[in-house]
């Protein structure tokens, strides 16, 4: 599926550009965005190292394990395939917590760490496990209590009520999350 969409984006872009006689745009766009991807990935290095360094301390100190213990009943319901006390549960819980409060940059390293641990439990390394699917889908639906970047943007642009959209955002992202949780449960047995 990602296969087809990826190619359709490229083919559509090339087709439209060439039908308008602007083929050169494609060359420029491809080369400059490739550079941009490298820049973006490298700009993540600093943040990733910082977070993963701090998280290693938290893990060694037993912080991740105790957090996971508190939230284990809930997480075990959503991720029944993960064994008790597995460190992946702690990272999943912290990943979702970071997303809820709008700390996306903290959520990504935590989520990736959890994926790495889930991969160790995965019998078929090239295919997503049930737990991986659930984790990724919870992240794509983006349940948000505090949309921090939007509030900051609104306040910065002189809104009279920067938090006006917080309530509706919560309802909308809850609808998206509800939808993926239900569909994930329905489809994971079939594919």
């Amino acid at each position: 599926m990602l296969n087809v969409i990826w190619y359709l984006l490229i083919a559509g872009g090339v087709f439209v550009a060439s039908s308008r006689g602007q083929v050169d745009v494609v060359t420029k766009a491809a080369l400059s965005s490739a550079n941009q991807a490298v820049e973006t990935a490298l700009s993540l290095v600093g943040v990733m190292c910082l977070w993963l360094g701090l998280l290693k301390i938290a893990e060694r100190a037993g912080l991740v394990a105790s957090l996971a213990k508190i939230l284990r009943p809930l997480a075990r319901k959503v991720f029944p395939s993960i064994p008790k006390n597995h460190p992946a549960l702690g990272n999943i819980v912290m990943n979702i917590a970071a997303n809820l409060v709008g700390m996306g940059s903290a959520a990504t390293p935590l989520g990736l760490l959890a994926m790495k641990e889930l991969q160790q439990l995965n019998d078929t390394p090239d295919t997503a496990s049930d737990a991986m699917c659930t984790l990724v889908l919870l992240n794509t639906s983006g349940l948000t209590l505090i949309p921090a970047s939007v509030i900051a943007l609104r306040a910065g642009l002189g809104s009279s009520d920067p938090t006006a959209t917080v309530g509706v955002t919560l309802v909308a992202s809850a609808a998206a999350t509800f939808c993926v949780v239900v569909l994930d449960a329905l489809f994971r047995r079939r594919c």
Partner: protein, 177 residues
């Protein structure tokens, strides 16, 4: 009140984390410096492993946008969008939201500048921005980081989730604002 809490939360979270986690580690007898360096090393590998996946998505998107294909799709959708109660200005945001987080935030910022944060368009844009996360980015990065290529039902389910989030956002914005 709420805004004060939010802004102090975002201002204090980093300093508190930097202060508290190593302190807790020291109290528990952890070699905090060694642990930090070891963890940071993983961060570098992670970022490098993500790079090819990120590059694939960035290039496809930029080729699609720069050649005018994105604008074409937006324009052809405008009769449908006005029927659904979506201001035409917001349509690019809906299309970009699942593809690029920074791109979508850029579009939202642009709409807020042009229409004002307290306008209907502005509030709708903010709600759409927060209603779901960057689906394609997350799918690529998360699965890419562990070299999983068969992602089963994840793409259609994630996109249906985005759709549910957008539909809800549009419905309640038309109702409340």
């Amino acid at each position: 009140m709420f805004l004060d809490i939010v802004s102090s939360l975002s201002r204090w979270s980093m300093p508190v984390i930097l202060f508290a986690i190593p302190l807790y580690g020291l109290l528990r007898g952890v070699d905090v410096y060694g642990a930090f360096v070891e963890g940071a090393q993983e961060g570098f590998h992670l970022a490098v492993r993500i790079l090819p996946y990120m590059l694939a998505i960035f290039v496809a998107l930029e080729v699609f946008r720069a050649g005018g294909a994105l604008a074409l799709v937006v324009n052809s959708l405008s009769p449908v969008s006005s029927f659904l109660g979506v201001p035409g200005e917001v349509v690019p945001l809906v299309l970009i939201r699942p593809l690029s987080g920074s791109g979508a935030l850029g579009v939202t910022a642009e709409l807020l500048r042009e229409w004002g944060p307290d306008s209907f368009v502005g509030k709708m844009a903010c709600t759409l921005q927060g209603s779901t996360d960057t689906t394609f980015f997350i799918l690529t990065i998360y699965f890419g980081s562990v070299n999983v290529r068969k992602i089963r039902h994840c793409l259609p389910v994630a996109l249906l989730g985005d759709l549910a989030g957008f539909a809800t956002a549009i419905f309640i914005c038309n109702k409340f604002f």
